[in-house]
Structures are given as C-alpha cells and as structure tokens.
Symmetry: C2
Subunit: 148 residues, 2 copies
C-alpha cells in the first residue's frame, strides 16, 4: 500500500537503511561527473582542503537520494522532486564510511485548485558512522492522493 498526500503529517520521520560507501563506485562516479584530484587520488586529496579522499558532493547527494527512496515513505506516484530549497555538505563523506539518512516532514501543502494534489516539504539529514552530518537538504516533492 502506497502513501497518498493525506497520509503525511508535519514531524513524521523516516529512517533509511545504513550502507557502506564503496570506493570503486565513488571513484567511477568522480571520473564520470567530477574528475577533480581530491575525489580521485589519495596523495592529492591529502594535500587538499579535504585532508584525504572525499566523495564528490554529487555522489553524496545521489547516494542520499537512494537512501531516501529506501526509507519506506512509498509515495503514491513515486518521488518526483519539484525543487531543492537548500543543500549543504557540512563535512566530507569518504569511501569506506557508512551512511544513513533521516527524513522529516517539514510541511504538507495541498493545492486549493485541485485538492487531490499538493507537495511535501522534507528535511533530510545524512550521517556518517560517527553521527556527523555529511549532507543537509530541504526538498519539495510532488504528492497526490489516489483516485478515490
């Protein structure tokens, strides 16, 4: 059973599974989308601001989305983002780290014109194995109730 717009309320919380960040996947991603030395090479990374190999922020964001998707919110019609209101990377995620995401419902918006439709505003926070925040994001996602 999927959840419709009516099944969400402010403060509702979803917890993702925990995954370990695979170095090969992080490097493949960096080669494809963000080929900077501090995402690819230990030596260069140790002399950078990151002080060691760090995943691309876009890898961290994409991994976070996968974990959000696996958090059991099971949104009717799928998770379709309308916009990201803010996205921050307070500290680097590193290959070998474990990672999980906590999502909280910040707002439930129903369309006046078409009340079966609306949007959900979510706050997402991704943590590493030391419970340090590696990503913080506020997203606006389309939501609908099923046809009655």
């Amino acid at each position: 059973m999927s959840r419709g717009l009516s099944d969400f309320h402010v403060g509702q919380r979803f917890e993702s599974p925990v995954v370990t960040v695979d170095e090969t996947r992080a490097l493949d991603f960096a080669r494809q989308f963000d080929p900077q030395p501090f995402h690819l090479d230990d030596q260069a990374a140790s002399q950078s601001l990151f002080k060691g190999l760090a995943t691309s922020g876009w890898f961290t964001a994409s991994m976070s989305f996968r974990l959000i998707f696996e958090s059991g919110m099971d949104l009717h019609g799928g998770i379709i983002g309308r916009q990201i209101e803010s996205l921050q990377w307070p500290r680097p995620l590193r290959p070998g780290d474990t990672m999980r995401v906590v999502t909280t419902v910040a707002r439930v918006e129903r369309s006046d014109k078409n009340p079966r439709y609306g949007a959900l505003v979510f706050d997402h926070e991704a943590f590493n194995q030391n419970d340090e925040t590696v990503l913080r994001m506020r997203s606006h996602v389309l939501a609908q109730d099923p046809v009655p």
Copy 2:
C-alpha cells in the same frame, strides 16, 4: 593559468561544451541511485507525469556539474561547493537530448578576516537542444587567490 578570487566579477559568463545524453549511462545511473519506473522503463514512463523516459534529476544535476567543470572557469584550488541555494528542474531531460550549461557570476564575496579567501555565487542554467531549461541552480563555491 588558473583563476583566483580576484579574477572573477559579477556578470561574468562561462559556457560549457555541448554533450549528448547517453541512454546507457542515464539508465545505469537510475539503477544505482533512483530506480523508479519513469527513469527506467519506456512503457511506465509514457504513462507517468513525464510522458516518456526522463533522466533522474540527480543525473541531470551531476551531468550539469561535469559541464560546469568543463566551462573553462579553471578555479584556483578546484571547484568546492559550500552549498546549493536552490535547484530546480523546470522540465525533464531525456536520453538522446543534447545539453549545455551557462554559468553567470551572481556575487563575489571576500572574507573580511582572511581576504585571500572568499566565495563565488554562481547562477547555472542547463538547456536542451531546443533551448528549453532543464535545470536551474544557484551555487556557492569556495574561492581563493593564489599565495602571492
């Protein structure tokens, strides 16, 4: 020669190369990070809000970053994002589309405390082959002048 903080000014514009969106890469990405039917299956996608196969918004964002990186801004110390202020996907990007990104400097911020360092605020807009906007983003990126 890389560009330091002093080499940027508001209104400065960078244009990326043009690339074609490879279907195999878009599907691989979706399988790994965003395995929803409208990103993976033509039939399901045609019946969705997207009315046809659409890339994951995180693929669109990651591709955009690669194009931004290839736009010749050649920032001293690399492109390290501090935050994304906003990110929107006004219309879907589709496999086979071509794509390019235009970046404009919106703000140049210099640290009072340590004037060799600061941040650049960029507005990025990604277009498809019909000059329709597929992504709009405002980013804050660390910047520094080289040691004199």
